[in-house]
């Protein structure tokens, strides 16, 4: 139980205790926060301009001058991977945010009102979900044309049914909760019950899902860019960078693709570790 004198820093002490109990999840947080900080501080850390080409130092293996080596135009891979954090995190978070808002709105409306509204909305979601996600994103990105906003829209759209289903099923459960009934008993309107009582209680699983989804969204963004449907050169996006270096792996110049690939792997792992542990963190009863 939290005593009154401890209430100023209950978050911090609880967080420290929680980290000790959940080292794996804490590690995930550490990765993502660390990458985020690196991305924000990229202009300070990066030794070179990520867009600078240096034909004299093409395809140099990793060395103290170029930590991750250089690419086919002599660009510094390390600097580009650092700036890539901004691009890829931006696309991932953007896609998840849009998907989350659109999807959970659909789910909340369907779950709370039920009946025919529910039926129509959820069948629409089924249609979207029936297409393989990546293929659908390819089609949308292809139609809209390659650019960062279009990439975000394509990935977000594919994820809408995920959030819609999740928030709907959560709403179906908590709609029947005793505290929702009790709120009606003291005279709360539908709108108030929906926003003040139910929404805060439905966020936990949706948050968990969106964290997991963040990793996949970044993977999808890189994938689309890799096949040329996403971001264009010379933007320092990890998928584009892998695409550039892919033909060179056979020639032994592995570092061009390897380091952006490693960045993607670490990012996806970080988000997944957080997502797995977040469920407990967001349960108020544990604090």
């Amino acid at each position: 139980m939290i005593g009154p004198q401890e209430q100023i820093v209950p978050g911090l002490t609880a967080l420290a205790r929680w980290c000790r109990r959940n080292p794996v999840t804490a590690f995930g947080f550490f990765i993502i926060l660390g990458l985020g900080v690196l991305g924000l501080l990229a202009p300070l850390i990066a030794p070179y301009d990520p867009y600078a080409l240096n034909p004299r130092e093409k395809m140099q293996p990793p060395s103290w001058d170029h930590l991750f080596g250089t690419g086919i135009f002599g660009e510094d891979i390390f600097s580009r991977v650092l700036y890539g954090i901004r691009i890829d995190f931006g696309i991932g978070l953007g896609a998840v945010a849009f998907g989350l808002i659109a999807g959970s709105s659909v789910g909340v409306i369907a779950g709370y009102y039920g009946g025919r509204i529910d039926e129509v909305l959820m069948r629409l979601m089924d249609i979207v979900a029936a297409f393989p996600g990546f293929i659908l994103a390819m089609a949308i990105a292809g139609v809209l044309g390659p650019s960062i906003p279009n990439l975000i829209i394509a990935i977000a759209f594919v994820n809408v049914p995920v959030y819609a289903r999740l928030s709907r099923s959560r709403f179906l459960v908590i709609r029947e909760s005793l505290y929702a009934l009790a709120a009606r008993g003291v005279g709360a309107s539908d709108f108030r019950i929906l926003t003040w009582h139910l929404l805060p209680n439905s966020l936990a699983p949706i948050f968990v899902q969106s964290t997991l989804q963040c990793g996949w969204a970044i993977l999808d963004a890189a994938g689309l860019s890799f096949i040329g449907l996403g971001v264009h050169l010379p933007t320092p996006e990890w998928g584009v960078m892998i695409g550039l270096g892919a033909p060179r792996i056979i020639a032994g110049q592995w570092w061009i693709s390897f380091f952006p690939g490693l960045a993607i792997a670490i990012t996806v792992m970080g988000f997944n570790l957080i997502g797995d542990g977040l469920q407990d963190l967001l349960d108020p009863r544990r604090w």
Binding site: A182, R184, G185, V186, G187, R192, P284
Partner: protein, 329 residues
């Protein structure tokens, strides 16, 4: 004096799918009528499945009754629209069996108690904190509890929050749905005493829903015993507990655990279990379990009959034979 609450012919059916396109009705409340005067306590007693909680919720329009009328202060609230009912909520409130589940886990209990004040503009925004502290004080909680979340409080404290929230709008009618059955023995006593004190202070009318005759005998002026959706016996509490006019009441009294091992004796209580609540017969529903059942019991419809002043029973044998002084259960 016209009663504060007058319920007549209340029915609640739940359709249950019994085939591809066939529905049958689960009868949760079957022609329930009751009245409650201001400041009085009426207990609805019964076991699980008797429909006592359903009746409570239908009165508050937390569930829609299938048929019947509910008069609060002479005004029929069963026909009102949802916003009209909402405007009447300050007058009638409910305290729930599971205090923790009835309190939103994501809001501080102080905010939950403030919610009805805010919704019905009982006091100005600036006065809300003072009124919340006052309510907390009334139910025996301190200021330090206001900023806590429900799960950090003990069961008894949670139920005090539930009571404070129900009292916030100064209601005339409080429906208490087994308010102490989830609590520890020592805490139950505290809450029962609190409810008694509050009733005297605020002239509250209680509809007290319970399965525990001991608790009922302490709190209630009158009692209505329910079995499978129907009231089977009603009357003043002391009188009903002293002489039962229905075999089911007798069984409830006999099954209530004894107070002292010296009272141990073999008692014949009902055998078996209740019949299905799906479209039950209009004849006596206790017949398969009743030690006194005769053929007449499954031939005639069992109606609630007032046999002596203020005392009603649904037992056919009692109604027929008591006047002649021939039989009591």
């Amino acid at each position: 004096m016209s009663p504060l609450l007058e319920v007549s012919g209340l029915y609640k059916h739940y359709p249950i799918r019994s085939g591809l396109l066939r529905y049958r009705n689960l009868v949760a409340a079957d022609n329930v009528s009751l009245t409650l005067q201001a400041g009085e306590t009426l207990a609805l007693v019964g076991e699980s499945g008797s429909g006592k909680s359903t009746v409570g919720r239908c009165i508050l329009r937390l569930e829609e009754p299938t048929a019947g009328s509910v008069l609060l202060d002479g005004k029929d609230i069963s026909e009102l629209s949802e916003p009209e009912v909402r405007a009447l909520r300050p007058q009638m409130q409910m305290v729930y069996q599971e205090p923790l589940e009835s309190l939103n886990p994501r809001h501080k209990v102080g905010n939950l108690v403030a919610e009805p004040l805010l919704l019905h503009r009982i006091v100005g925004k600036a006065e809300i904190p003072a009124r919340v502290s006052e309510l907390f004080h009334m139910v025996g909680l301190g200021k330090e509890h206001i900023d806590r979340y429900a799960h950090t409080l003990s069961g008894g404290q949670q139920q005090r929050v539930g009571i404070a929230r129900a009292l916030a709008t100064r209601p005339k009618l409080l429906i208490l749905d087994e308010p102490t059955s989830a609590l520890d023995v020592s805490v139950e006593a505290q809450i029962l005493n609190l409810l008694q004190d509050l009733q005297q202070q605020m002239q509250l009318a209680y509809l007290f829903i319970s399965h525990d005759l001991a608790v009922v005998s302490m709190l209630a002026d009158r009692v209505a015993v329910m079995y499978l959706g129907q009231i089977v016996e009603s009357g003043p509490t002391a009188s009903v507990l002293a002489s039962h006019y229905h075999p089911y009441t007798q069984a409830l009294v006999l099954a209530t655990p004894i107070n002292h091992p010296r009272q141990r004796k073999q008692r014949i209580v009902l055998e078996g279990e209740p019949i299905s609540p799906i479209e039950p017969p209009q004849t006596c529903r206790l017949v398969p379990r009743c030690p006194y059942a005769q053929s007449i019991c499954s031939e005639q419809p069992a109606n609630l009959v007032e046999v002596t002043p203020h005392r009603a029973t649904r037992c056919i044998r009692f109604a027929n034979e008591h006047q002649a002084g021939r039989w009591t259960p």
